[in-house]
């Protein structure tokens, strides 16, 4: 329940997670590389009101349809939704954790993007993500370098 995580830990861990996510995600988007690795398999992905059924199709979409693009996350903010989020958690890991590792985090990004082959003007976008803990690393056989948080939902809109 609420209040288990000290406020400074909650803020440090969640904002750091948001910082890391924004930095790595948009780099990956620009080059359309390993995008699926940012998502849980059942992620709810909506781009400009279009549903992308799963992370693999998002990867294909960016590689084939979007091509080179340049995202610039000019502003990002985050907020903790649930301190003990169990979306995708194994039954033996439902308990709370005071180090913040089980938080779900809402990230709101406002930025600009340039797409190749369309008008050369930068367009504005706003995008929100729900990040949930990646429960893979909890298991023994988890490979190193796995992401601590994964995208559970994504809502992207060109606003300009």
């Amino acid at each position: 329940m609420m209040g288990d995580i000290p406020e400074d830990v909650l803020v440090r861990v969640s904002t750091q997670a948001a910082d890391d996510f924004v930095k790595t995600y948009y780099q990956a988007l620009d080059s359309a590389k390993n995008l699926a690795s940012f998502y849980i398999q059942a992620a709810d992905i909506w781009l400009n009101g279009n549903n992308i059924p799963d992370p693999q199709q998002l990867q294909t979409f960016f590689k084939d349809k979007v091509g080179n693009c340049q995202y610039d996350a000019q502003s990002h903010d985050c907020s903790v939704l649930n301190q003990n989020c169990n979306i995708g958690a194994p039954d033996n890991a439902l308990g709370p954790s005071s180090d913040g590792s089980k938080m779900s985090i809402l990230v709101l990004v406002s930025g600009s993007v340039k797409y190749k082959d369309s008008s050369d003007e930068a367009r504005g976008f706003t995008e929100s993500f729900t990040l949930v803990p990646n429960f893979e690393p909890h298991s023994q056989k988890a490979p190193k370098g796995l992401k601590k948080w994964l995208i559970q939902s994504q809502t992207f809109r060109l606003v300009v």
Binding site: H76, I87, L108, R157
Partner: protein
Amino acid sequence: MQTLESRITAPRGPRNPNPSTRTGGSHRSGIQKRSSTPRPRVDKDGDLVMDSDATKSGKGGIERVRGRGAGRGRAASTRASNPGRSKAAVERGISTSQVNLVNGSSSQVQVDGLHGSKAVNNPDGGLEALCGFLERKAAGLDAASNRVVKIKKSQLRGGSVFLTASAEDIAEILKLNGFKFAGSDLVIKEVERKDGVKEPSAQAQGVKERMKAALSKRYDSALKLLNLSDLVQDPDLQAVDISVLSADNVVKFFSALMQLFGDMLEENRQKRNTVTSISIANNGLDTVSNIYAIGNTFPHLKNLDLSGNNFASTKSLEGLKHKFRSLENLVLTNNPIVIQEPAFGEQVISWLPKLLLLNEVPVRTPEQVFATSTPIPISTPDFRDVGQVGETFIRALKTNYDGDRNALLAAYYDDQSVFSLAINMTAPRNREHITPVPAWSAYTKFNHNLDRINHTIARMNRRFVGVQAIQATWAELPATRHPNLNQSDKYIIECRPQAGLPDPSGRSSRGVDGLLITVHGEFEEQNSKVEDRALRSFSRTFVLGPGVPGGVPIRVISDMMALRAHAPLAHPSPAVVQAQAAQIQEPAQQQTPTDQEKEFMANQLMEKTGMTLEYTIMCLQDNTWNLEQAYMKFQTVEPSLPPIAFINGVVPK
């Protein structure tokens, strides 16, 4: 060669070989120009006001400029800050020859009494103080409407002050007659228009009026077409033959025309709706750069007719891609390029991303244009509400964030709700939205843009948890006015279920469902000073979940606002909206039936009607395999059917 200026300034009398030696322009010295942007005019319906004597709209909004250097009618005229480039060109090109195209026809008043006031000892003779006083008082007389009175020009002449302002503002200022200013009673009276002290010479005024007359005749408001073709034939323009002018003068000429036209429009953003088509056919033009002024004035121009000119190469057209990017229809017939560079189309099409027709030949479909404008097509919002919870919340948000923030807090927030605000100060805007961005100072102390705010302490301090903390923050944030929710072009609102939220009852360890709502829109700040009412764009993401038992039933778990400079939202094209609306309805309509289904329907119909299989199938096909429809049709045509249509050739009873 005859110059454009001489054509404009000396259309009838003897040509003046050296216009700059004339002295008539000096009457402008000592006049403080108070506005730098053209004030276009439009009547209530949004139509252009072409009659030059029509009352000027009193709408303010011009940055206020009051020169410091102007003394008692001797100082040089003080230029308002940052005049637009085209205007500078116009003034360079035309004001030297005394044609004042820039000053519109406003009303004037004469104010006496400054001489006897204490303000007369001010460095500027009290002019500044008097103008400020009059503007304040005149605006205050009509407090309910929050109107702004702007004095456009002020001039001290022989102890009297002459003020120029819109007719509406002058009417307000006249009401101040007899007011006391710095110990002196003011006498304010209207100045007759033709009292000899009015702006440009009659001749220059005449040229300007003729140009305006020409423009108004050439503007078709129904078609939104400005027809500037065959200018050489226009009696009002005294046979301006562009083909014999130097390039420089052609540029000036179009700048002047656009400047004048701009003066007739209400606001820059209305230009988009005022003119969608321009014809500049048959003018001997040889490069697009000569008509940049048109592109600057109408960046959204859709149809451009350049036929019958002298464009000979793609290079001469290159300017299209800089200034006419919104063109959908371009006509270049009867130009040398058609013969000299028959393949010019490919280049031109690549420059104009929205071009649909080139010389009346389709080059793209609107769908193609839309698809290429972003690789991620813009579709209608994804709004998946649950039991109208989202809709109810959005209505409460719109009403109460503007009107009663405490009521919103009381209805939807609890001691665990979190609010934060991030400012994107570098957000891109549309090319045509280049008004200065109002200062962010009212927001910066709350800015939780993690890109800028790196220290954990600051990050903690700018995160507001619980009703009390949020209330204190909202009390400090500027009051707002959001557009009504039915203004669908002002909002994009998406809503959908969000799983895994905390269960306040503690029963579900896997979490409960709530809603994730994203609102993209704009608001106007409500400052006491009207001119400080900034328009901002925002995106705001809410997560709603069930409340704690005994508290609010639905609570805001997270409320994050991202602010940016104002720019209109990118909406799906009308075609997409229509197509997507149709898609939703379509599945219910009909699908092509399988052969099995067809057979079943045929048997049914045959049984009911007694028709042969052949006629039955014809009937079903004619009614798109809709059984009911087919049967109804049968009933209406039965009497006229031949016996051969029926099994055994017998019409059943």
